[in-house]
C-alpha cells in the first residue's frame, strides 16, 4: 500500500516537473533570453594580492596606515566607518598619543554640558568614526540620490572583497563605444559614472582617486592612483576583520595540537585493533 501510494505521488511530481521543464524548454527555444549590457560588459574584479592573504598572511601595518590616510582624506567625506573606534587604530601601529591626536581631528556629536544642547566636540579615543551625513535623506540629497554605504565591512560584504574595492576604485572609464553600438539605450545617465566592475555598470560615485599625489604619503611611497586604491582596500580588509592576524596566529598552534592528538589517536587505535583483523573497510567498500 505504501509503495503504491509512493509511486502515485512520485508520478504526480514527475509529471508536474515535466510540464515545467517542457514549458521552459519551449520558452528557451522560441524566445531565448536576450543579452543585456550588464551581462556582456560587466567585468570580474582584477585580482588584488595583499600581505594579509593566505594562511600565513599578516597585515602590513605601514600599508594600513597609508590606507587609513586615504580613507581619512578622501573617502570619509562621504562614507562612514561606524563600526570602527579610534582606539582600534592602535592595531595599525599608532601609539596612544597618536590615536588621541587622530580622534581630536574629528568632530563627533556631543551635548553642551551647560545647556544640554546638541553640538559637536573633538573626538576621544573611545569614540567611533563619525558619520559624514546626519541621516540617509541628507546623504541622498548630497550624493545624486544614492546613499554612500558604510565601509566598515565592505570587503566582507562583496564577492571578491578586496579585489572588488581595488577594481572599482581604479575601474572608472569612458563608456565603451562598442557598448553604445550594441545597446544604444544603455547610455550612462547624466551624473552617473561608468565602471565595468559595478554590477549595473553605472554608479553615482564620481571617481574618488583621480590624480597622483592626491594623498601625501609620509613614508615616501609614491601615491599613484593604483597605489592609493591598493592601500585603502588593504585598510578596509582590516576594518572588516580586525582580528584577522590573531585568528591566523591562533589557528596554527590549534592545528598543530590537533595533528599531534590525531596521530596519537591513530596509533592507539592501531594498537587496540591489532590482531582483530580490522578488515572492515576493505570488505565493505
Amino acid at each position: 500500500m505504501t509503495r503504491i501510494l509512493g509511486i502515485l505521488v512520485g508520478l504526480f511530481f514527475c509529471f508536474a516537473l515535466s510540464v515545467s521543464l517542457f514549458k521552459g524548454v519551449y520558452a528557451a527555444a522560441t524566445d531565448p533570453a536576450a543579452p543585456t549590457a550588464e551581462s556582456v560588459f560587466h567585468k570580474h574584479p582584477r585580482e588584488l594580492s595583499l600581505a594579509s592573504d593566505g594562511a600565513f598572511g599578516r597585515f602590513d601595518k605601514r600599508q594600513l596606515q597609508r590606507g587609513f590616510q586615504v580613507y581619512k582624506e578622501v573617502c570619509s567625506a562621504c562614507h562612514s566607518l561606524r563600526l570602527v573606534a579610534f582606539r582600534d587604530l592602535k592595531a595599525l601601529g599608532y601609539n596612544d598619543d597618536e590615536v588621541k591626536a587622530i580622534a581630536k581631528g574629528f568632530q563627533v556629536p556631543g551635548l553642551d554640558p551647560a545647556t544640554g544642547e546638541v553640538n559637536t566636540r573633538p573626538g576621544l579615543a573611545t569614540d567611533y568614526f563619525p558619520k559624514p551625513f546626519a541621516n540617509d535623506i541628507a546623504a541622498r540629497a548630497a550624493n545624486n540620490n544614492a546613499v554612500p554605504p558604510d565601509l566598515s565591512l565592505m570587503t566582507k560584504a562583496r564577492e571578491d572583497g578586496q579585489s572588488y574595492v581595488y577594481s572599482l576604485l581604479t575601474g572608472f572609464q569612458p563608456q565603451p563605444a562598442a557598448l553604445l553600438k550594441q545597446f544604444p539605450d544603455a547610455k550612462t545617465p547624466p551624473n552617473l559614472h561608468y565602471n565595468p566592475y559595478f554590477p549595473n555598470l553605472n554608479l553615482a560615485m564620481a571617481p574618488p582617486l583621480t590624480a597622483e599625489g592626491q594623498v601625501g604619503y609620509k613614508d615616501g611611497t609614491k601615491a599613484t592612483v593604483d597605489q592609493m586604491a591598493q592601500d585603502v582596500a588593504a585598510f578596509l580588509v582590516w576594518t572588516a576583520e580586525p582580528k584577522l592576524d590573531k585568528r591566523k596566529q591562533t589557528g596554527w598552534p590549534v592545528l598543530g595540537f590537533l595533528l599531534f592528538a590525531t596521530v596519537l589517536a591513530y596509533l592507539s587505535k592501531k594498537q587496540i585493533w591489532a590482531g582483530k583483523h580490522d578488515a572492515g573497510e576493505a570488505s565493505a567498500m
Binding site: 505504501t2 509503495r3 509512493g6 509511486i7 505521488v9 512520485g10 508520478l11 511530481f13 514527475c14 508536474a16 516537473l17 515535466s18 510540464v19 515545467s20 521543464l21 514549458k23 521552459g24 524548454v25 528557451a28 533570453a33 594562511a55 563600526l83 582600534d88 554605504p149 565591512l153 566582507k156 560584504a157 562583496r158 564577492e159 572583497g161 554590477p199 572588516a240 580586525p242 582580528k243 590573531k246 585568528r247 591566523k248 591562533t250 589557528g251 590549534v254 592545528l255 590537533l258 595533528l259 592528538a261 590525531t262 589517536a265 591513530y266 592507539s268 587505535k269 587496540i272 585493533w273 582483530k276 583483523h277 580490522d278 578488515a279 572492515g280 573497510e281 570488505s283 565493505a284 567498500m285
Partner: protein, 451 residues
Amino acid sequence: MSFPWAQQYVPTSPFMRWMDEKLPLPRLIHGAVGPGFPVPRNLSYFWNFGVLAGVCLVIQILTGVILAMHFAPNAAIAFDSTEHIMRDVNWGWLLRYAHANGASAFFVVVYIHIFRGLFYGSYKAPREMIWLLGVVIYLLMMATGFMGYVLPWGQMSFWGAKVITGLFSAIPIVGTPLQQWLLGGFAPDNAALNRFFSLHFLLPFVIAGVVILHIWALHIPGSSNPTGVAVKQESDTVPFHPYYTAKDGFGLGIFLLVYCAFVFFMPNALGHPDNYIPANPLSTPAHIVPEWYYWPFYAILRAFTSDLVIPFTHIVLVPAKLLGVMAMFSAILLMFFLPWLDTSPVRSGHYRPLFKKFFFFGLIPCVLVLGYCGGAPAAEPFVMISQVAAIYYFAHFLIILPLVSSFERPDPLPFSITEAVLGHDGRARLAPMAAAATTPDAAGIAPAHPA
C-alpha cells in the same frame, strides 16, 4: 537490552557499589558506550559520523549559549551586537566563527550519516525507529539552522526569512494569515527576530532529547554494519570500548582538523557576503539564497515554474508555488516512508547490484546537481537542470526504489560478519553452523538473536 555475551557491569569499589544502588549512571554508561555494548567488528569509518554529529551538537550548544550572552535579539541592534561580538568580546570572533562553521560542519556530518544509512539500508527492520527519529532530528536541525541564520539580521537573514516564511502563504485559504501569525507581522521584523531567537535557543535542547531517543532506539537492535548481515555470535562483535572509542577518537581528530581549518583560515567561505550588509527591507538582493545545506531543497522548490491547469482551459488546479512548496516538504518527508518503500530483504547496498548503480550514478549526482543549482541564480540553464534532477530525485525514492526491491536479484551474502572479516579462517571455524542457516532470512533480516 544487549547481546547475551555483553560484558556485565560489576562495580569494584565500595563507592561505586553504593552509587550503583542509588543511581546506576556508571552502569548506564558502561552499557551504552562502554565495554558492555557489543558492536559489529566490521564497521567502516562511515560509522564514525553518528558520534561526530553528537560532538557537533555539543559544540553548537556550548558556543551558542555563550554567544547568546552577548547577542541582542532586537532588530535595531542585532546586526551591531553581532559585530560587537566579532570586535570587542574576548575571543568573540572565535565563538561566532566556531558557531557559524559549526552549523555547516554539523550538516556535512549529518548528510554523510544519512547517506551512509541510505546506502547500507540502516533504515530497514529492525532499525526503522532509529531512522524515523533521525529524520525528526534532521527536520529540527533544518528549522534551528534557518532561525539561527536570521539572527545576525543581515540582508540574507531578512530576505531568507521573508522567502521561507512566504512558503506558508502558498497554502490555500489559511496561508497568508498563517504566515503573518508565524512572523508576528506582515514582514520579518522585531517580533519575528525575537521569537526566532527564543526558538533557536530552545530547539537544540529538543534535538538533544530526540538524540537520546535515537541512541536508545539504536541500543535495542545494536548497530548495523557494512555487510548488513545481522550479528549472530560473539565473534561478530567487539566491545564498544576500547575498540570504537579508539576508532571514534581518531575520526574525531580528523574531523576537528578540517573543522578548525575552516574556522581559523576560511571562516567566511561558506557564508554569503550579503549577510555582512545590515537588513534593509527596501533593498532586495539580486539573488536570495539560503545557506548551502538547504540548496538541494531550494532547487526543488524553484523547479516548479508552471501551474497545473485543466487542459485547454485556464482553470488552475495547483499553482506552481504551491506545487513547489509541496514538493520541497515531500522531498524531506518521504524519508519517513523509506523503510516501507524499499522492501528488499538485503540491507547493504554492497550486495545489491541494481540498487548500487542507481545510488552511485543516480542519487548522488542528482543531489549534488540539485545542491549546485539551488545556490545558483534562478535563471536558465539552472532551472532546467534542476527540473531534470528533481524528476530523478522523486523517481528514485518513490518509483525506482520500490520497483528495484521487487525485481533485483541480490548478490550472495557472507554467512556472518566474522566470515566477512576473517575470510577462510572464519569460514572454516564456522562451517558446521553455516549448514544450519541457508535461508535468506537468516542471512539478511533475522533478529540479532531470538530473545
